[in-house]
């Protein structure tokens, strides 16, 4: 979909992708675009891509479980200094804000998984979850102090 400018300085992109791992790079592309519209630098954009891809990967792997069993609607909203990403899927309910990221482990037994939720929380300023009907609505928000417009 072509970008839509609503009001003065909001840029909105929206795209629905099949819930498959090979679609994650496209999701990253969307996030990168949104991050740059928000005036984020490359490094901040990269962090946002990491976080959103972790969330999307979880939907594919743990939500739908079977590749291509559904889809994910990705919407980015950018305004100077702020990027909001909405991920909507129709997999079984899961609230990632309720799960405790695993950040307490021994050097002798480091964790092989469970890094995704941690990355999402560390990168994003807000993580908001809602179940609406048969859909999961996840909203991730990132803000920076001094946007370069």
């Amino acid at each position: 979909m072509a970008p839509t400018r609503t009001r003065s300085r909001l840029t909105l992109h929206s795209q629905t992708v099949a819930a498959r791992l090979d679609q994650l790079e496209a999701v990253c592309g969307l996030v990168d675009q949104g991050a740059h519209s928000a005036g984020f630098d490359d490094r901040t954009s990269y962090a946002c891509q990491l976080a959103v891809c972790e969330a999307a990967e979880n939907i594919v792997k743990h939500g739908y479980r079977k590749p291509g069993a559904g889809d994910i609607r990705v919407t980015t909203r950018s305004r100077p200094g702020e990027l909001i990403i909405d991920l909507v899927d129709s997999a079984p309910p899961f609230d990632p804000t309720a799960a405790m990221p695993d950040d307490d482990w021994e050097m002798t037994d480091p964790p092989v998984g469970g890094r995704g939720l941690l990355i999402i929380r560390r990168v994003m300023d807000d993580v908001h979850y809602e179940r609406r009907g048969h859909r999961n609505h996840l909203r991730l928000r990132k803000r920076i102090q001094a946007p370069s417009e």
Binding site: Y46, K61, P110, P111, R115, I119
Partner: protein
């Protein structure tokens, strides 16, 4: 993602480049498992050209680390890109890996 492997006498240097995510982590895991199966346990991962490193890639690094440590080896990182470092730090895994500014010092550290 591209993987190049250089086998030295006591160390193997693995050069990883490109995007390491859920779509490619399997290939990296296969390459590293092949090495540990051949008793190559002193590993240097050159991450200079990694431009994306997701938790799936990190999972492979940690799995490999655990496997080689059991055998007295280690996984050490050489000249990781800023993006690789950012991913490792965000995942809280920076304490696990020794990082070296260049391949030579990483190889020489064994």
């Amino acid at each position: 993602m591209e993987i190049k492997t250089q086998v030295y006498k006591r160390v193997v240097a693995v050069t990883v480049s490109g995007r390491v995510d859920s779509a490619t982590a399997g290939d990296l895991e296969a390459a590293l498992t092949a090495l540990t199966n051949e008793s190559h346990t002193n590993l240097v991962l050159d991450l200079a050209a990694v431009d994306f490193l997701s938790s799936s890639g990190l999972r492979v690094l940690v799995t490999t680390l655990k496997a080689v440590r059991k055998l007295g080896g280690d996984v050490r990182l050489a000249q990781p890109s800023q993006r690789a470092v950012d991913a490792i730090n965000l995942a809280g895994l920076d304490v696990l890996f020794k990082v070296f500014p260049d391949r030579e010092s990483a190889i020489g550290s064994y």
